[in-house]
C-alpha cells in the first residue's frame, strides 16, 4: 500500500530525512521509533503533505500513485489520515460543525453523496460513545480548551469517522495517562482491518504494549537504522537508542 | 503680543493633543523667553559629556543632534533652546548610573548616544514648579542597553512637556520607567523607533495625581521584523484631575514576527476625576502578535471587603490595594527611586 524509497526531505535549508526506505502492506501495523530529532514528525508531515516539507529526492508511492504530487486534502480524500501530536485549536468552529464539513468534503471529493446534519450526527454519536467523547465536547469549539486526553480522543474519533486506508499516528501517547492511553489504544485496535494499514510513530515503547505492531523500524538521523519484530521494542527499552544505533552501525 | 512660536502650539483640536490643550494651558506667554538647565550628577567613568551651549560641537553630537523625529513642541525647543547636555558611551563600555536633572523655566535639549554594545543606567529627574519644554534624543547602537528611570514630581501650576525620541539598532534594549505626579498640564511624549531586528523596548509607568493633569503619549514604531515591545501603565487620579494615556503601536509592511503588548489601567478616586485612554494599533504586516488592553474602574469590592473582614480599616484597605495596583507596574530597577514618592502621593490622595 505504501512504498517509500530513498526519501530525502528538507525543511528550510536543513535536510531532515536522508534516504528513508519503508514498505507497508494493507492489514499491517508498523511502528516507527526513534529519539528526539530523528525525523519522526517530519515523516508524518511529509506523508500528509504539509507545506514547507520539500521532497528533494526519492518517492512516496501510495496504492501505485505518487503521493508527493497530491494536495493535502486530496490525500485525505484518498484515505490518508494523520492523527497529530498537537491537534490544532480553531476558535469559534464547533467540533460537530468541523466534523460535518470535513466528512462531507471528503465524500464530495470521492463523488459520494453528502450527508445532512442529522445523518452526520447519528454516525458521530455512535462512534463517540466508545471513546467517551461527550455531546458537550462536540458542541465546544474545535480543540479549544480541551485537555490533552480530550484532544487525542477526538483525533481517534475522527479516524473512526473517516475510516482511512492509511492511518499515521504521530506520538499519540504523548500527554496521556494510563487510562486515557488504554481508551485510545482500544479505539485504534478496533480499526485494525485487512484493508487498512497503520503507521504508529512513538518515542516510547509503552504505547506498543497496547497497540502491538507487526514490525518496528528504528529511525535515527533521517534514516531507518534497524528493523525487527515487536520484540525490538523491549530491546530498545532495555538498551536505549544509543546502543541500538551503535549496534546497527 | 502673541508670538509665532505660541501660535504654532497645539490646541485640543489637534487630535494628538485632544486631552492636553497646550495652547490654552500656556496662554499667550508660551514657554517664555528663558532657558531651562540640564545638570549632571557625578560623572561615572566611561561617560562623555558635552554642554550644548558650547558652539564647538564635536562630530558625535552634530551627527545626530536634531535628526530624530520630533513633534511640533519638540521642534520649537530645537529651534529656540540655547543649551542642554549631550552624553555618550563608547563602544562596548558599561557605565554605572548617572543622574540627569532638569530645572528652571524655558526650553532645553538633551542628547544621549550609546554606541554599539554600550550600556548605561540613566536617572532622569525634574525639579521645580517651572514651565518647561524638554526635547531629548536617544540613539542606541546595536546591542546597546539603556535603563532609564524618569521621576517627574508634582509641579503645581507649571506646564511641563517633554518629548523623548529614541532609535534602536539591532538587538538594542531599552527599559523605561516613568513615575509622574502631575501639574497644571504635564505631558511626556515618547517616540520609539525599533529599527534593527531583535530590538526591544519595555515601558512601564505609574502616575498618581490629585487635582492635576498627567499625560503620557507613546508612539512605538516597529520598523523591521522580530522587534518586541511591551507597555504597562497604571494611574490613580483623585480630586479634579485628568490622567491620560495615548499609545500608538505601529507595525511597518513586512515587519513579521513583531510581538507587542500594551496595557493601561486607571482608577478614579472622587467624582471630579477623569481618565482618558487611547491605545491604538496600526498593523501593516500579517505575521504579528499585537494586543492591547485598557481598563478604568474602581478598586475591587471583594478584595476591599476581604481586607476589612480581616480587621483593616476602610482607609487602610484602600491604601493597601492602591499600593498593590501601582506596584505591579514598577520594575525592580525603579523601585528604590520612586517608591517613596508613590507612597507620599498615595497618602495625599487618600487623606
Amino acid at each position: 500500500m505504501l512504498e517509500i524509497k530513498n526519501l530525502h526531505v528538507k525543511v528550510g535549508d536543513k535536510e531532515i530525512l536522508k534516504g528513508l526506505n519503508l514498505s507497508l502492506a494493507a492489514g499491517q501495523v508498523h511502528a516507527i521509533m526513534g529519539p528526539n530529532g530523528s525525523g519522526k514528525s517530519t515523516l508524518s508531515y511529509v506523508l500528509a503533505g504539509r507545506a514547507g516539507y520539500d521532497i528533494t529526492q526519492g518517492t512516496i508511492t501510495y496504492n501505485g500513485e505518487d503521493l508527493g504530487a497530491l494536495a493535502p486534502e486530496a490525500r485525505a480524500a484518498k484515505g490518508v489520515f494523520l492523527a497529530m501530536q498537537y491537534p490544532v485549536e480553531i476558535p469559534g468552529v464547533t467540533t460537530m460543525m468541523f466534523l460535518k464539513s470535513a466528512l462531507n468534503a471528503q465524500r464530495r471529493a470521492r463523488g459520494e453523496k453528502e450527508l445532512d446534519a442529522i445523518g452526520v450526527l447519528k454516525i458521530v454519536r455512535q462512534k463517540a460513545a466508545t471513546l467517551n467523547v461527550s455531546e458537550e465536547m462536540l458542541k465546544r469549539a474545535l480543540n479549544v480548551g480541551f485537555s490533552g486526553g480530550e484532544k487525542k480522543r477526538l483525533e481517534i474519533l475522527q479516524m473512526k469517522l473517516f475510516e482511512p486506508k492509511l492511518a499515521i499516528l504521530d506520538e499519540t501517547d504523548s500527554g496521556l495517562d494510563i487510562d486515557a492511553l488504554k481508551l485510545v489504544a482500544e479505539g485504534v485496535n478496533s480499526l485494525r482491518d485487512p484493508s487498512r494499514a497503520m503507521l504508529v510513530i512513538t518515542h516510547y515503547q509503552r504505547l506498543l504494549d497496547y497497540i502491538v505492531p507487526d514490525r518496528i523500524h528504528v529511525l535515527a538521523k533521517g534514516k531507518i537504522v534497524a528493523e525487527g519484530g515487536k520484540e525490538l521494542a523491549k530491546e530498545l527499552e532495555a538498551k536505549g537508542y544509543d546502543q541500538i544505533i551503535k549496534d546497527a552501525a | 503680543m502673541t508670538s509665532a512660536a505660541v501660535i504654532a502650539l497645539p490646541t485640543r483640536r489637534v487630535e494628538e493633543w485632544k486631552y492636553s490643550d497646550l495652547r490654552a494651558a500656556l496662554g499667550d506667554e508660551g514657554f517664555g523667553s528663558g532657558f531651562a538647565r540640564a545638570a549632571l550628577g557625578p560623572l561615572p567613568q566611561g561617560l562623555e559629556c558635552f554642554y550644548l551651549d558650547d558652539a564647538n560641537r564635536p562630530a558625535w553630537v552634530t551627527d545626530v543632534y536634531g535628526t530624530l523625529k520630533s513633534n511640533t513642541v519638540s521642534a520649537v525647543s530645537l529651534a529656540l533652546a540655547k543649551g542642554g547636555v549631550a552624553l555618550r558611551v563608547r563602544k562596548n563600555q558599561a557605565v554605572e548610573a548617572v543622574t540627569l536633572n532638569f530645572s528652571g523655566a524655558g526650553h532645553v535639549r538633551a542628547l544621549l548616544v550609546l554606541e554599539e554594545g554600550a550600556s548605561l543606567t540613566l536617572h532622569e529627574s525634574l525639579s521645580g514648579s517651572d514651565t518647561r519644554n524638554i526635547g531629548f534624543e536617544i540613539v542606541l547602537g546595536a546591542n546597546a542597553q539603556l535603563n532609564h528611570v524618569r521621576l517627574s514630581p508634582a509641579a503645581g501650576a507649571a506646564v511641563q512637556v517633554e518629548e523623548v525620541a529614541i532609535t534602536l539598532a539591532r538587538h538594542a534594549r531599552y527599559h523605561f520607567h516613568n513615575a509622574a505626579f502631575g501639574s497644571k498640564l504635564s505631558r511626556l511624549e515618547m517616540y520609539i523607533a525599533l529599527e534593527g531586528e531583535g530590538a526591544e523596548a519595555h515601558l512601564t509607568g505609574v502616575c498618581v495625581i490629585n487635582n492635576d493633569h498627567a499625560d503620557i503619549t507613546t508612539r512605538m514604531h516597529h520598523a523591521v521584523a522580530q522587534t518586541h515591545s511591551t507597555q504597562f501603565f497604571k494611574k490613580v487620579a483623585a480630586g479634579k484631575s485628568r490622567a491620560v494615556y495615548q499609545g500608538k503601536v505601529s507595525v511597518a509592511v513586512g515587519a513579521d514576527g513583531v510581538d507587542s503588548r500594551q496595557t493601561a489601567k486607571a482608577i478614579l478616586l472622587g467624582s471630579q476625576a477623569e481618565a482618558d485612554l487611547k491605545p491604538e494599533l496600526e498593523i501593516l504586516a500579517d505575521d504579528v502578535k499585537c494586543a492591547h488592553g485598557a481598563a478604568v474602574g474602581d478598586l475591587d469590592a471583594d478584595s476591599l471587603f476581604y481586607l476589612r473582614a480581616r480587621g483593616l480599616s476602610e482607609n487602610e484597605a484602600r491604601n493597601l490595594l492602591l499600593h498593590a495596583f501601582l506596584e505591579e507596574a514598577i520594575p525592580e530597577m525603579a523601585l528604590g527611586l520612586v517608591l517613596d514618592q508613590v507612597n507620599d502621593a498615595l497618602e495625599r490622595v487618600s487623606a
Partner: protein, 483 residues
C-alpha cells in the same frame, strides 16, 4: 509552495464574483443633475411633502453649504463632486400601488435575483419587507397584519404625509440636522426610507426588513430611517443593501435614527453588501452613514449588529446614547475589507444614565490591499454611576499588503464606572489551515470555516434567517483577496 502562498490562492479562488452586480433596465425619472435649492424643492415636491418638511430640508441645505467634509477617518478617496450626481431617481410608475401585482415585473424580477422573497415565501419566513429602489420605496408587504397590532411600517415619505405629528416629534432628535456633513446633506435631500412605530407594550409579531438597492447610474442614495419603539415594546429590524457594478463611485449617505422609550428594545441588523468596486479598486459605493440610537427611557435597549462586506469606502459608526437609567447598548460588527476597500467603522457608547451597560464586539478582517479600521468611543459621563462597558476588538489579516487598525477612545468621568477593553491582531495560522486540509477540507472551505469561526460571536446575533446568508457572504467577500 509556501502555505502563505496557498492561503492567498485559496482566498483568490474563494466564492463567486459579486453576484448583485447586474443593472435593471427600467425607465427612471430623475431630478436634474446637481445640487442646489431647486433640487431640494424638487425632491420635496415629488414627495408631495407638507411645507414644514420643505422648510426643514431647506434649513439643512443652508447649513450644509457652510460645512466641511470630515477628514479624520482613515479613508482616502478622490474628491466628491456633489454637482455631478443625481439626487433623485425613481422608477417611472403610477403613483400609488395597492398590491404587489401592480409593481413593475422587472422590479420584482430584480428583487428575486437579489434573493428577496417578496411574495408568498415571505409569509413563510414571516418577514415584512419594505424595498427601496434608488430613491423610492416600491413595495411594503404585510402592512395589514402589522396594522392589526398597531405597528406602523411604511415608507418615510408616506409617514411624513400620514403621521406628521409623530415624524415632527422625533425626526432629527437623535441625529441633529447639523450633526455632520453627510447627515446634513441627507437631511436636505433624503428621498425615501423607512418609518417604524411600535406602540406601547407591543412586541412586533415579525421581523421587519428593508432592502436598499441603488440601480441608476450617477445617482446618490440618501435614505432616512426612523424607528420609534414606544414604552415596553420590542422590534427587530433588518436592512440589506446591494448595487450594480459600475466603474463610477456612487454616494450613499443614509441617516438612521432609533428611539427607544422606557423598557423598549430595538434590535437593528444590517447586512451591507453594496458593490465594493472591482479587484483594481475601480468603482464601488462610497458609504457614509450616520446611525444612532437613543435609549431615551429607563431600562431601554438598543442593539446594533452589522455585517459590512461591501462598499469601496465605509464610514459608519452606529452609536447608542444611553440616557435612560439602566439602559443597555450593544454593538456587534463584522467588517470585511478586500482588494482596495477601505472600512473605517465602529461605534460610540455614551453613558449618561445610572447603571447603564454597553457591550462592543468587533471583528475586522483585512485582505488584499484593503485597510480596515475600528474606531470607537466609550464615554462615561459624571452622573453615570455604576456604568459598565466591555469591548472586544479583534483583527484578522490575510496577506501581506493589507492593514488593520484599532483606534479606541476610552473616557471615564465616574469613579464607580468600570470599562474594559481588549484588542488582538492575528492571522490564519499555518497549522490551522493544514489541520483542516489534512481532514479533507479544500483551501477555500478551510479559510471560510476559520473566518466564520473568528466571526462567530457576531453571526450569532443575527436573526436566524439571515445568519446563514451572512455566513456565505463572509466567504464570498474574501474572493480574490490577495493579488
Amino acid at each position: 509552495m509556501s502555505s502563505a502562498a496557498d492561503t492567498k490562492n485559496t482566498v483568490a479562488a474563494l466564492g463567486e464574483k459579486y453576484k448583485y452586480g447586474f443593472v435593471t433596465e427600467i425607465e427612471t425619472e430623475k431630478a436634474p443633475k446637481g445640487l442646489n435649492e431647486d433640487t431640494v424643492r424638487y425632491v420635496s415636491a415629488k414627495k408631495n411633502e407638507p411645507a414644514w418638511m420643505l422648510e426643514w430640508r431647506l434649513a439643512a441645505f443652508k447649513r450644509w453649504l457652510d460645512m466641511k467634509e470630515p477628514s479624520w477617518a482613515r479613508v482616502h478617496y478622490p474628491k466628491i463632486d456633489y454637482q455631478n450626481a443625481y439626487y433623485y431617481a425613481a422608477p417611472k410608475q403610477t403613483p400609488k400601488l395597492q398590491s404587489l401585482d401592480e409593481v413593475d415585473p422587472k422590479l420584482l424580477e430584480t428583487y428575486k435575483k437579489l434573493g428577496i422573497p417578496l411574495n408568498e415565501q415571505m409569509a413563510l419566513a414571516g418577514v415584512a419587507v419594505d424595498a427601496v429602489f434608488d430613491s423610492v420605496s416600491v413595495a411594503t408587504t404585510f402592512k395589514e397584519k402589522l396594522n392589526e397590532v398597531g405597528v406602523i411600517f411604511c415608507p418615510i415619505s408616506e409617514a411624513i404625509r400620514d403621521y406628521p405629528e409623530m415624524v415632527q416629534k422625533y425626526l432629527g432628535t437623535v441625529v441633529p440636522v447639523t450633526d455632520n456633513f453627510f447627515a446634513t446633506l441627507n437631511s436636505a435631500v433624503f428621498s425615501d426610507g423607512t418609518f417604524v412605530y411600535v406602540p406601547k407594550g407591543v412586541r412586533c409579531p415579525m421581523e421587519l426588513s428593508t432592502y436598499f438597492r441603488i440601480n441608476a447610474s450617477e445617482t446618490g442614495q440618501f435614505e432616512r430611517t426612523l424607528i420609534i419603539a414606544d414604552e415596553g415594546s420590542y422590534v427587530s429590524y433588518l436592512e440589506g443593501c446591494t448595487a450594480p457594478k459600475r466603474d463610477e463611485n456612487q454616494l450613499h449617505a443614509a441617516v438612521v435614527e432609533l428611539v427607544a422609550l422606557e423598557g423598549a428594545e430595538i434590535k437593528y441588523s444590517t447586512v451591507q453588501n453594496w458593490y465594493p468596486g472591482d479587484e483594481n479598486g475601480v468603482g464601488g459605493i462610497f458609504n457614509f452613514v450616520t446611525k444612532r440610537g437613543d435609549c431615551r427611557g429607563d431600562r431601554s435597549k438598543i442593539s446594533w449588529t452589522q455585517v459590512e462586506t461591501g462598499s469601496a469606502i465605509t464610514w459608519k459608526y452606529p452609536s447608542c446614547i444611553l440616557r435612560g437609567d439602566g439602559s443597555v447598548g450593544e454593538f456587534y460588527s463584522i467588517a470585511i475589507a478586500n482588494h482596495y476597500q477601505q472600512a473605517d467603522t465602529g461605534t460610540k457608547m455614551i453613558h449618561i444614565g445610572k447603571n447603564t451597560r454597553s457591550r462592543i464586539i468587533s471583528k475586522g478582517i483585512s485582505a488584499g490591499k484593503a485597510h480596515n479600521t475600528y474606531r470607537g468611543l466609550v464615554s462615561v459621563l459624571g452622573k453615570a454611576d455604576n456604568a459598565r462597558n466591555f469591548t472586544q476588538c479583534d483583527s484578522l489579516l490575510i496577506g501581506k499588503e493589507c492593514g488593520a487598525h484599532t483606534v479606541p477612545y476610552i473616557e471615564s468621568r465616574n469613579p464607580s464606572a468600570k470599562i474594559e477593553h481588549e484588542a488582538t491582531t492575528s492571522k490564519i495560522a499555518d497549522d490551522q489551515l493544514f489541520y483542516c486540509l489534512q481532514r479533507g477540507l479544500g483551501q477555500e472551505e478551510a479559510v471560510a470555516l476559520i473566518v466564520n469561526g473568528f466571526c462567530k460571536e457576531v453571526l450569532q446575533q443575527l436573526p436566524m434567517e439571515f445568519a446563514v446568508e451572512a455566513q456565505k457572504l463572509v466567504g464570498i467577500s474574501l474572493e480574490g483577496s490577495v493579488g
